[in-house]
């Protein structure tokens, strides 16, 4: 027998590893990726490949030459950041912009905070929001679905369903008069619409979300609470004035609500660590999203809402601690 190993208990470990968690999320994103490949064609592949490659490359360069730390590019996190960033971009975005977005995501949002596990904000969302603010025109010119899937540039572009509603209502139209311009709920569910790469088909995203729940990569607390908050708030407005407000179902299916709820807000690093905290966090995201969508300047607010709530996570972790066992009753001294 070889020399026995001496270490402290426990001597067993579950089969879960950080790497497996990352790859599980990638598996969950596959159906949505396939849908966007079908809808946008080669553009979807190009955007994703560029985002992934540049995220991994920047992580490598920064770790090797700038920080001179151990390389962790194989842990799957940079790969995942790349995919998630791509999912938040239009399929016809110029390639150099994607690279800039990746640099911001990996360089600023992740590495400058200390790398995996230390970042406060979701790197992919920081990259997206940076691009959205810097290049608003390119970031909001969405190629229309299906009809121009083989073309990369100069495609027919149009607004997202949320954009159509927002603009229409501002110019005095009503939901009834807009009905012909916005896709049906069924189209939204399947993904026959305009928008970022990954927010196309709510169905495909939900499928992946269910996979993540079954694999226990995420818990139900954040997605369910966030979507429920959005449904309730938009539902109230809709019930009060259905002509000036879109239905809650439309709000859930259009835009990045599902993508955000299952894949962005649930990012392990930037979400709270307790179940209680997760619920507070998700209510906050739902609330801010609805405020931006109904009253803000942007038609869509999920990214901003998640980033704003990311900033509150350390505070939430401090104030919403698990209840200590035995803290109900105190023993007398």
């Amino acid at each position: 027998m070889a020399t026995p190993i001496i270490s402290a208990s426990p001597h067993l470990h579950s089969s879960r590893t950080s790497k497996k968690l990352m790859y599980d999320v990638l598996i969950a994103l596959t159906p949505a990726f396939l849908v966007s490949l079908y809808v946008f064609g080669i553009g979807a592949l190009v955007v994703t490949a560029v985002a992934v490659a540049s995220c991994i490359l920047f992580e490598y360069l920064i770790q090797k030459y700038l920080l001179k730390t151990e390389l962790t590019i194989t842990d799957g996190s940079a790969l995942l950041t790349g995919v998630l960033l791509a999912f938040n971009l239009p399929s016809n975005l110029p390639i150099w912009m994607i690279i800039v977005g990746s640099l911001v995501a990996i360089g600023i949002a992740k590495s400058s905070f200390g790398g995996l596990g230390f970042n406060i904000f979701n790197p992919a969302l920081v990259g997206r929001v940076f691009l959205l603010i810097s290049f608003p025109v390119q970031m909001t010119s969405w190629p229309n679905a299906i009809e121009n899937q083989s073309k990369l540039v100069d495609a027919v572009t149009g607004a997202t369903p949320l954009g159509i509603v927002k603009e229409g209502l501002q110019f005095g139209e009503t939901m009834t008069s807009l009905a012909s311009q916005i896709p049906s709920n069924m189209d939204l569910l399947l993904g026959i619409t305009g928008g970022s790469l990954g927010e196309m088909s709510a169905l495909a995203l939900l499928l992946g979300g269910i996979y993540l729940l079954i694999r226990k990569v995420i818990s139900w607390h954040i997605p369910v609470t966030m979507l429920a908050t959005m449904a309730i708030l938009t539902g109230i407005f809709w019930l009060v004035n259905p002509e000036q407000n879109a239905s809650p179902l439309f709000h859930l299916l259009a835009g990045g609500a599902i993508l955000g709820a299952f894949y962005m807000a649930t990012d392990l690093v930037t979400s709270p660590m307790t179940r209680k905290g997760m619920i507070i966090f998700a209510v906050g995201i739902g609330l801010i999203t609805v405020i931006i969508r109904l009253f803000g300047a942007y038609p869509e607010g999920v990214s901003f809402a998640i980033l704003i709530m990311n900033a509150f996570v350390p505070l939430i972790n401090t104030y919403f601690k698990p209840r200590r066992f035995g803290s109900r009753i105190k023993i007398k001294d």
Binding site: I5, S9, L12, G115, F118, G326
Partner: protein, 440 residues
């Protein structure tokens, strides 16, 4: 729905390889190494000298304080020396080395004990028998039993809980004992009920031991005060506080004892030892030990004399497999990796588990990804990631405020951590230094 505790917990693979194997008697070893500190508390005081002849069951070290226990010779023989051996924690401890007298025929186990049902002794006499017999908690904590039974008058005690959970993977010592010594255990329960002057006892058994549950249910059908509860399998249900919560839904206060909610918990092995001590005057000199491992030819359960070197046990199961890299005293969740095969079995040794090369290594520790799994599985409602972080920074006031001292060291946090962070290692260290800080 089966009962269980509500907060945290994990489900490691059970690997109970020996649950159908009858307990065999291990041959009396040629030499025994009896440590004088086999319990929590003050080490016992040696009362024999080198070259003394000792009888089986003779007191060789006596209780040296309130929290201490007698130690008896497990064999008949001659004290060859007072030496130091490595214990399972890796410390050298004082022990009494006794060479077995092969010719001495007097052996406790040669006497056939008929089941003695009648309880004649008074509570005080029962307590005295338990004290004299050197009984300690055999579940692994090894707290002297007589101290635990010494209930302060102002505590309102109403339940005795018998811990037959055995939530550690691999171990089956308690399981087999419950199947093979069922009548004795039930009498032991009655002895304790009588000694404590209460009338309710609950036997808690996890549902992976259905045969034991059925057997106890059958035998307690007509017993008024004794009930059997099948518990959903979840680690660490064998922890006292978790068990009280699971069975009675009472939450033991922070820094408190089950006694604070009117409960006293004893392991089934301890109950059997109490039966032996009270009914047959037999001190605690042997116990059931599971010797197991995936690669072992013949994993078994044994009756083992206290002080038997681990090497003797391993020989009895066909030797150590080639690729063994870890030998554990206890289960894989809370047991200790031992270095020397001469390390003796003590009162608290419930099993020897061998892990082969594929199971013996820790994964490489990477950055915390703040997934919160450690928080979710902690049965005490702690935040292991935070405690590790604070320990790294030596912030003892904060570790104290974050209740580090209530950690029961079950290891669930380290078990689940996807980044393989050594959470419990740090917490143990943090507990030690926080405690020193508090004292100063």
């Amino acid at each position: 729905m089966l009962k269980t505790f509500s907060k945290g917990g994990i489900h490691p693979a059970e690997n109970k390889l020996t649950s159908t194997k009858e307990i065999k008697k291990l041959d009396t070893p040629k030499t025994v190494y009896v440590p004088i500190s086999q319990h929590i508390g003050i080490p016992s005081e040696i009362v024999v000298a080198k070259k003394d002849k000792v009888e089986i069951g003779q007191v060789i070290a006596k209780s040296a304080g309130f929290v201490s226990a007698n130690i008896h010779s497990p064999v008949a023989g001659v004290v060859t020396k007072l030496d130091k051996v490595f214990d399972s924690r890796g410390y050298q401890i004082q022990c009494i080395v006794i060479k077995t007298d092969a010719k001495n025929p007097v052996n406790f186990e040669d006497i056939v004990y008929p089941l003695k049902k009648e309880i004649k002794l008074s509570p005080a006499e029962i307590l005295k028998h338990i004290t004299d017999s050197g009984i300690v908690g055999l579940g692994g904590a090894t707290f002297p039993t007589h101290v635990k039974l010494n209930v302060n008058e102002d505590k309102k005690l109403d339940h005795l809980i018998i811990n037959g959970v055995e939530c550690e993977p691999y171990l089956t010592a308690d399981h087999r004992l419950m199947l093979e010594r069922t009548d004795e255990i039930l009498i032991g329960v009655k002895i304790l009920l009588h000694a404590l002057q209460i009338d309710k006892a609950v036997i808690g058994i996890e549902n992976n031991k259905k045969d034991a549950i059925a057997l106890f249910k059958k035998l307690t059908k007509d017993e008024k005060g004794i009930s059997v509860v099948a518990l959903a399998v979840k680690y660490p249900q064998g922890g006292e506080k978790q068990l009280v919560k699971a069975i009675l839904n009472r939450e033991v206060p922070k820094n408190g004892l089950p006694l604070d909610v009117g409960v006293i918990v004893h392991n089934v092995g301890t109950i059997y030892a109490i039966y032996q001590a009270v009914q047959h005057d037999k001190p605690l000199i042997e116990r059931v030990v599971t010797v197991t491992g995936k690669k072992l030819e013949n994993p078994s359960n044994f009756w083992v004399k206290i002080g038997t070197p681990v090497s003797d046990l391993l020989e009895a199961v066909g030797g150590v497999p080639e690729d063994t890299r870890k030998i554990l005293n206890g289960g894989p969740m809370m047991g200790k990796a031992i270095k020397k095969l001469k390390t003796p079995v003590t009162k608290g040794t419930s099993g020897i588990v061998l892990l082969s090369d594929d199971d013996a290594h820790r994964g490489e520790s990477t950055n915390c990804i703040r997934c919160g799994e450690c928080v979710y599985v902690c049965p005490m409602g702690l935040e292991p990631h935070l405690l590790m972080n604070l320990t790294e920074k030596h912030l003892w006031e904060r570790t104290c405020a974050e209740d580090i001292m209530t950690c029961i060291e079950c290891g669930s946090c380290s078990y689940v951590c996807p980044s393989h962070r050594p959470l419990l290692d740090y917490i143990r260290f943090g507990k030690k230094l926080t405690n020193e800080c508090k004292i100063n």
